[in-house]
Amino acid sequence: MSSPLLSVSGLTKRYRRGGKTIAAVDNVSFHIEPGETLALAGPSGSGKSTIARLVLRLVQPDAGDIQFKGEDFLALGGATLRARRARLQMVFQDPLAAFNPRATVARVLDDPLRIHGIASRSERPRRIAALLERVGLSPDLAPRAIHEISGGQRQRVAIARAIATKPSLIVLDEAVSALDVSVRGQILRLLLDLQREERIAYLFISHDLGVVRAIAHRLVILDAGTIAESGDARTVIDAPQSAIGKALVVAAPKLDRTGP
């Protein structure tokens, strides 16, 4: 087995509220291989999104260790951290909230290319057009404002922005949860294509086990900040062992298409 792309051990984040200390994430360990999709699932408040923020270093953990590409990710700072961040990208549930709504599509895609010094000023329009085509959008969309395009188009732009820096890992936090089902299928297929062609790994956070089963290789089920169970995604979903795993499976809406 090759060395993991991301290795998280003993990750802990506590919040203090009204004199009480709550562990949002409590001693969580997992790893992700290159080109692999690891899903984090669990009910509201189970710690999924806090783990995403910790891995992205948007918040600091109280304890634990994060190795990314063999480096101590938590020890990095300054220019080194900024450089490594290009390899670790993110897509959130609501791209309208993630972007300046008045920015144009071109501007949203120009930023990472410029900031990470990936393309010169003269080269960037061509790169932007190529990125748009890569995610199945017309380059004609470049001058449009983010708020003018549809939700599915916006999520494609968010993915284009994420892959602009050639990342090894993308954290997808409920990235398809707000999309219409028809668009959701297209975005999931796009993610699979990108993974196959560029060997990108995904940390895929979702409360929807149907989506997880469709896209993830392995699954970690969280409950109240701790890992309830983990394993091959299909195996866990088909025969959950933990109480929370069973509850999630029972609660998932089932569609019985057989006739009366």
Partner: protein, 339 residues
């Protein structure tokens, strides 16, 4: 089936930045007394506009054409006995809010006499599918009808929205918000209204009802807030409960609990349910009939069982195919780690 309300040729046009967008186009459908009808569709299908039109909550700038006729129980004083078939929807606790309701076309086309928009077939033709009693009621009311006898939001229609944080008042206790509905629409005094609120909090199964009465919305979880919103929506004993994506912002486990709660309350109170959702599996699990909307049009309507097992329309089939269930094949197995 006895219709609770009948929608005919409903068109709703929103005006935005000088241009007009038809959110609903020529919709005709009936909602039967006591049924659970789901309206499903994707963004821009018009499903929420339909819910708002029925609840008369559309913005004043919206242009509305067509009619929504209600067949609410006539007051006993009007003489004509209601046919037995409409009785099961009336729970004993709601005797005091009997009301008469004339046909209520909601058309508000500027410059036109609203009475001109009354359905032409008011007393003939189209009535053939309805009961004789219904006809009598409407004849009887014709002379006594007052414009304020239209169905009233909060009293005759309970509405549960997607985001309970937006529909609850953040600086009013939960108890007061529920009691206010009972006070306003049932004419209860405040102690009675608070007692009713406590009963409702127990019915929606909030833990520690006495503490919940005094709590503010921000002290509750998302699922608990939605339970409060449901308690307020049913406080006046509405005939129709509209749930517009009421479980969409909740996690799967809480969603299943809220759906079970809605099902139970609707059955206990004999309410009619209009369940608006983007989730065809959830709709099929809860509703007896499903109406599929797309781009403001009604694609098809039928028994839930038929819609999911034998859809007539290709669009419905595509929605079913897009559903990712726990038994679906993974989209791709080739994308795995090569290590």
């Amino acid at each position: 089936m006895t219709a609770l309300l009948s929608i005919r040729d409903l068109t709703v046009i929103y005006r935005r930045d000088g241009s007009e967008v038809a959110a609903l186009k020529d919709i005709s459908l009936d909602i039967a007394v006591g049924e659970r009808l789901a309206v499903i569709g994707e963004s821009g299908s018009g499903k929420s506009t339909l819910a708002l039109a029925i609840a008369r909550l559309l913005p004043a700038s919206a242009r509305i054409d067509g009619s929504i006729d209600w067949f609410l129980r006539p007051p006993p004083t009007l003489g004509a006995k209601a046919p037995p078939s409409v009785l099961p929807d009336i729970s004993p606790s709601r005797g005091e809010i009997a009301l008469s309701s004339p046909p209520s076309p909601i058309s508000k086309v500027a410059g036109e006499d609203p009475t001109a928009k009354l359905p032409i077939s008011l007393l003939e033709g189209e009535m053939s599918g309805r009961t004789e009693g219904g006809l009598m009621e409407r004849k009887a009311q014709k002379s006594t009808a007052k414009p304020d006898h239209t169905p009233l939001g909060g009293r005759d229609i309970g509405f549960v929205f997607q985001d309970p944080s937006a529909s609850l008042d953040p600086v009013m206790t939960v108890g007061k918000q529920i009691a206010e509905v009972a006070h306003t629409h049932l004419g209860l005094n405040w102690p009675q209204a608070y007692a009713k609120a406590k009963t409702l909090i127990e019915r929606v199964r909030l833990p520690d009802p006495d503490a919940a009465l005094r709590a503010f919305p921000h002290q509750l979880s998302g699922g608990q807030k939605q339970r409060v919103a449901i308690a307020a929506a049913i406080a006046a004993g509405p005939k129709l409960l509209i749930a517009d994506e009421a479980t969409s912002a909740l996690d799967t486990i809480v969603q299943a609990e809220i759906v079970a709660l809605i099902r139970q309350l609707v059955a206990e109170d004999g309410m009619t349910l209009l369940f608006i959702s983007h989730d065809i599996a959830l709709a099929a699990a809860l509703a007896e009939r499903i109406a599929v909307f797309r781009h403001g049009g009604l694609v098809e309507i039928g028994a839930a069982r038929q819609i999911v097992s034998a859809p007539r329309h290709a669009y419905t089939r595509s929605l079913l195919d897009a559903h990712l269930g726990l038994d679906a094949e993974p989209l791709s197995r080739q994308a795995g780690p090569s290590a």
